[in-house]
């Protein structure tokens, strides 16, 4: 039953991918079109898998289905970095933002932020994940406010550069970076996938998991760091896309009705691929690039989020 549902998702994802690849094909420019489209598809898959996997695991370790890793504040840190760079370098920014060094620097800063939080709160004996998230949230808000303030005093033309990077986009992804990101993301996902049976046990609650021999606190800490790296790489590659994970992780749980993470992780990734490919098709073919994909995803995800909130509050 579960396997069949996964196959169904796989078929939908593959169909969308081939549609995206071959639609409106111009045979004179076939080679060029195929290459750029394949690159975009790869970027979408990488983003989809990292967001899908990290959100499912994050929800499992926090026992909360309306949270996503973005609550750690990584998106705000990313925006803050972008704003500072534009603020300091003005219109020369575009060149900087395209460079490999900048890519790694943003990853390093985001991961550094997460490690800082981790050191601050986990190392001191008591491991309180929620306190850590709260501090992340507060710092994230602080960075957002700082960014907004700086954006107000920036030249409006330069502000457009920042605005571009506020939204995830798959249109101008650097090929070298794509391959490096692919390697990092694949390695991390394999690492996470090895813990899938532990996640099953962890989802019935901390005490049961400890009783059954799961090194609970250790895994929570490790996953916190791994998720942070995963989200950082994906954000540095394509930009923030907050609600995608919320949407697809929950849809995966609803659709499969299971606690088994072997299937949940795969389904959330596939659903994310479907959402991104579908969204991108709509953006390119219907809105002719006038609306960024993350606006659509965040709109749909946001509506779904409100639906979840209303539904959960009715249960009580």
């Amino acid at each position: 039953m579960l396997k069949r549902k996964i196959i169904l998702l796989l078929v939908v994802a593959l169909s969308l991918a081939s549609l995206y690849l071959f639609i409106h094909m111009n045979f004179q420019a076939m080679e060029y079109l195929l290459r750029t489209r394949l690159e975009k598809i790869l970027a979408m898959i990488l983003c989809a898998v990292s967001i899908g996997v990290s959100t499912v695991v994050f929800q499992t370790i926090t026992h909360n289905r309306i949270l996503t890793p973005s609550i750690m504040g990584l998106d705000s840190v990313y925006m803050f970095i972008q704003t500072i760079v534009v603020f300091l370098f003005g219109s020369g920014t575009f060149v900087i933002m395209q460079s490999d060094a900048y890519f790694f620097l943003t990853i390093l800063l985001m991961v550094g932020f997460a490690f800082g939080l981790y050191q601050l709160l986990f190392r001191r004996g008591q491991s309180n994940l929620f306190l850590l998230l709260l501090v992340g949230l507060v710092l994230g808000t602080f960075f957002s406010s700082l960014s907004s303030f700086m954006q107000m005093i920036i030249d409006p033309n330069e502000f457009l550069l920042i605005q571009d990077s506020m939204f995830a986009s798959f249109t101008d992804v650097n090929t070298d970076l794509l391959l490096i990101s692919a390697v990092i993301i694949i390695v991390l996902c394999i690492y996470i996938f090895r813990y899938r049976h532990y996640f099953d046990v962890m989802s019935i609650g901390r005490d049961h998991a400890v009783n059954l021999g799961v090194p609970y606190e250790k895994i929570v800490k490790r996953m916190f760091l791994v998720i942070a790296v995963l989200v950082a790489v994906s954000t540095a590659l394509v930009g923030p896309i907050t609600f995608l994970g919320l949407l697809t992780a929950n849809l995966a749980r609803e659709f499969l009705q299971t606690f088994r993470h072997t299937y949940l992780l795969i389904a959330a990734s596939l659903l994310s691929v479907i959402a991104l490919l579908g969204g991108q098709l709509v953006v390119e073919r219907i809105f002719s690039f006038s609306t960024p994909i993350s606006v659509i995803i965040n709109f749909v995800g946001g509506v779904y989020f409100i639906y979840l909130l209303v539904r959960e509050s009715k249960k009580i």
Binding site: H63, R196, H197, D200, V201, S203, I204, G205, D207, H208, V210, N211, L212, G213, V214, P215, Q257, T258, F259
Partner: protein, 251 residues
């Protein structure tokens, strides 16, 4: 053997377990009794490493529980807490299968399946094994959780108020099952029990707690005495001998 030495636990500034030392013998049922808030659940949680003590050491067969690998411990000691909520959609069988995790790591072998079925039949849930937990009554749910702990097949079994929600028949069956596990398989069982007569009839030893301390401890017949019980519960309790059992009347 379980040995606790000078265990203490603070919640905030309140010391809820105060330098408790205790030895629990193998191959027996030891019941923990005492008023609400005495610290029974806290003590059991520390013994089973769910909760870390602020002071003192717990030895399980001579080794410090906090220094052993969690995975190895899970094959030796199992605990069921007082209240259990699982938010996920799970069938009885899926829940009980979790009990095999220490052995199977999530991939059940034929032997694991066998143990799961055995545990389910111990608690009389065979016909309901494919039902979802949220479709069960309170007592059926409690029995499903007990089955999970039994499937873990450990030498030490700690049950915090296992008779919660059980009707009289199932309560008696459960206690008889526990006795059988002790007599036939040499298990060591620690219980928290509020029904003093169940404690009296089925346990080998009783530990009485009050205000974070052990106030009385010994073979069942030494503890089930009017004067001892009066000091624990501050209640006049008559003890009668009825067909070789010591029965308390306190209404």
């Amino acid at each position: 053997m379980i040995v606790a030495e000078k265990l203490s636990k603070y919640f905030g500034s309140k010391k809820v377990i105060q330098d408790v030392s205790i030895e629990v013998k193998r191959g027996a049922i030891t019941s923990f009794i005492g008023p609400n808030g005495a610290g029974k659940s806290t003590l059991l949680s520390m013994v089973s490493r769910l909760l870390k003590q602020d002071d003192g050491i717990v030895y399980l067969d001579g080794k410090d529980v906090h220094k052993q690998k969690s995975k190895d411990l899970a094959k030796t000691i199992a605990i069921l807490r007082q209240s259990n909520v699982v938010q996920m959609r799970l069938t009885v069988r899926e829940l009980v299968s979790f009990g095999r995790f220490p052995y199977s790591n999530g991939r059940l072998t034929a032997e694991d399946e066998q143990k799961v079925s055995e545990a389910i039949s111990y608690v009389n849930l065979v016909e309901m094994e494919d039902k979802y937990l949220n479709e069960l009554s309170g007592g059926q749910k409690q029995r499903a959780f007990i089955a999970m702990v039994l499937a873990q097949d450990t030498d030490y079994i700690l049950l915090d108020e296992p008779l919660n929600n059980l009707d009289m028949k199932h309560a008696v069956q459960m206690m008889k099952l526990l006795r059988k596990l002790v007599e036939d398989f040499g298990k060591t069982i620690l219980l928290v029990i509020h029904d003093i007569n169940f404690a009296s009839v089925y346990s080998d030893r009783i530990v009485a707690m009050k205000d974070g301390k052990i106030v009385a401890e010994g073979p069942t017949e030494d503890i089930i005495q009017s004067d001892v019980l009066k000091s624990i519960y501050d209640l006049d309790i008559d003890v009668h001998n009825i067909s070789c059992n010591r029965i308390c009347v306190y209404f």
